[in-house]
């Protein structure tokens, strides 16, 4: 499929500032990305019409391609909000974290990752992860320490914690999907609708196919009787709502004043 060589766009200072600032975040939600884009236009090219975000990003990506980096768009697995991260395409390891964490911390993450991928629910319990602390490479780590390391992962948006259990943050999925698919080909779960890596989702109790929650929401949006796309059996789960950025913005006016862009993350 060598066909189309994508036309390379041109970088201007608007794009460069955008990239520089984007790089200071691990992952951003779409509204934050728009805000960043508007800021960069304001600084460099006040009078220009702001490009459509999709085109803007696509333009930058065409230039980044030769560097094996990409601004990748994804969605959070729990409520389908669009997120963006700058992802390295050339490595197939979790080396992006390598500069921020020690060897034993990286290994702890690897162990947690494996448990999460293997699990049925996409969550690994704190207890199960901590029980593996003895097997870690590098400096010996105590369980107490490991708990703090897990919190570090949550703060830097590699993991999400819910009621003492851990799953992958959307950022980790964006960054590591390829690595995960290659490293755990048997354990890996795929969404029946979008065919991407699936960590959390719903599954058909009859035939076992799985779907992301936002994919379920979209697929069954206007159906009164949801049925499995594969085996046609009645879909036994609650159908979530489709993510609506408008509703978000109304609710989020109070939220964004609490949570500024300067969240603590790597």
């Amino acid at each position: 499929m060598q066909g189309s060589t994508r036309r390379v766009g041109a970088m201007t200072d608007v794009h460069r500032r955008f990239l520089q600032l984007l790089m200071t975040h691990g992952v951003l939600e779409e509204w934050e990305v728009r805000r960043l884009q508007n800021h960069c236009y304001k600084v460099h090219d006040r009078n220009a019409t702001v490009d459509k975000l999709e085109d803007f990003i696509s333009n930058i990506n065409s230039v980044l391609e030769s560097l094996y980096i990409e601004i990748k768009k994804g969605a959070t697995e729990d409520d389908g909000r669009p997120i963006y991260a700058l992802v390295n395409l050339a490595t197939t390891s979790i080396s992006k974290m390598a500069s921020d964490f020690a060897e034993n911390e990286l290994d702890l993450f690897r162990k947690a990752l494996e448990l999460i991928v293997d699990s049925e629910t996409g969550f690994a319990s704190s207890t199960n992860i901590l029980n593996l602390v003895d097997q870690l490479k590098g400096k010996k780590m105590r369980k107490k320490e490991a708990e703090q390391v897990l919190q570090k992962f949550v703060q830097s948006k590699w993991l999400i914690e819910k009621e003492g259990e851990f799953t992958l943050h959307g950022r980790a999925i964006l960054e590591m999907e390829q690595f995960i698919r290659e490293s755990y080909p048997d354990a890996v779960k795929i969404c029946n609708i979008c065919h991407s890596l699936l960590i959390q989702g719903q599954s058909c109790e009859t035939c076992g196919i799985r779907m992301h929650l936002p994919c379920v929401a979209k697929y069954f949006q206007s159906t009164s009787e949801p049925r499995c796309p594969h085996c046609n059996d009645y879909w036994p789960h609650d159908i979530p709502e489709v993510f609506d950025p408008e509703k978000e913005r109304e609710a989020g006016i109070s939220r964004s004043s609490r949570k500024s862009l300067r969240t603590r993350q790597h």
Partner: protein, 335 residues
Amino acid sequence: MRSKAWFVFARTPPPMPPPPPPTPRGRLVQTTPNRPVLPVTGASLRRLVMLQKPRSRSRPGAQPGSGSDRDLGASGEVPSGPGRPDASQGSAGALSPSSRPAQATPAPELRTQKQLELKVAELVQFLLIKDQRKIPIKRTGILKHVIRDYKDIFPDLLKLAAERLHYVFGYKLVELEPKSNAYILINTLEPVEEDAEMRGDQGTPTTGLLMIILGLIFMNGQSIPETEVWDFLRRLGVYPTKKHSVFGDPKKLITEDFVRQRYLESRRIPHTDPVDCELQWGPRANLETSKMKVLKFVAKVHNQDPKNWPTQYCEALADEQSRVGPEPSDPVAAS
């Protein structure tokens, strides 16, 4: 002559470049086979591919003529052959095919364009990550962790990486000091106040403190004893022995971190007891900011015109003139 009452930090635009974030560096494995090679680097890479010579004999492959003192230094692996390349063969920049005679059989070390592209990508990411720490990147580190067996074309790879860093990210790769074999990234974009709200990291807070110290040094002449710096900072609630809510350990920050990052230089003042050190601007400070910028910062803090300090103003002007002249040692100065 030192200026009087300073006050708490002005919220000034930090002249320091925003530290780039963790970008990945790691073992590169070729991934999808269908990645198109884009023309922007394609041309330079193609030239590089064409110029690869068997490493075992005769002229070194794409090893540029070592005549230019802007070059990055021979990698030390110039193969012994019938004489060294003469300087007229072209500098680090010129990879024109016409300067090379046709060679015989290609060696097994010939690398594909894809491999070269990946190597440049790896180098770019390495430089971005390393610079994030604000520690100058040593050439030996680059060779050891990234270049490895591509040593023979190291200068070209570095030049390509520098081009990409400049074109794509707006960062300029410069050598910290001439012949230091250590590099830093300089932001070619002017930081803007609102950038601080858009950032995802905490890069900025220490910059204010650094600016103040650079200001103290400059307004005092060329250097200032550390004790006088603390005398001043105490008035702002910053103490060498007390943990600070924003700066953490200010003593470590100033005497260790800023020095290691080459923003400051510290020298023992002899015959002082307790030991006192003299602080001066470090090479990175000169590269990332300027006397004029620092003077303007000081002036703004006092709500005055920079010209109200005539000595410093003249010095800053002279510094500006010298900047317009020859570039600070730039290993990949544009052709």
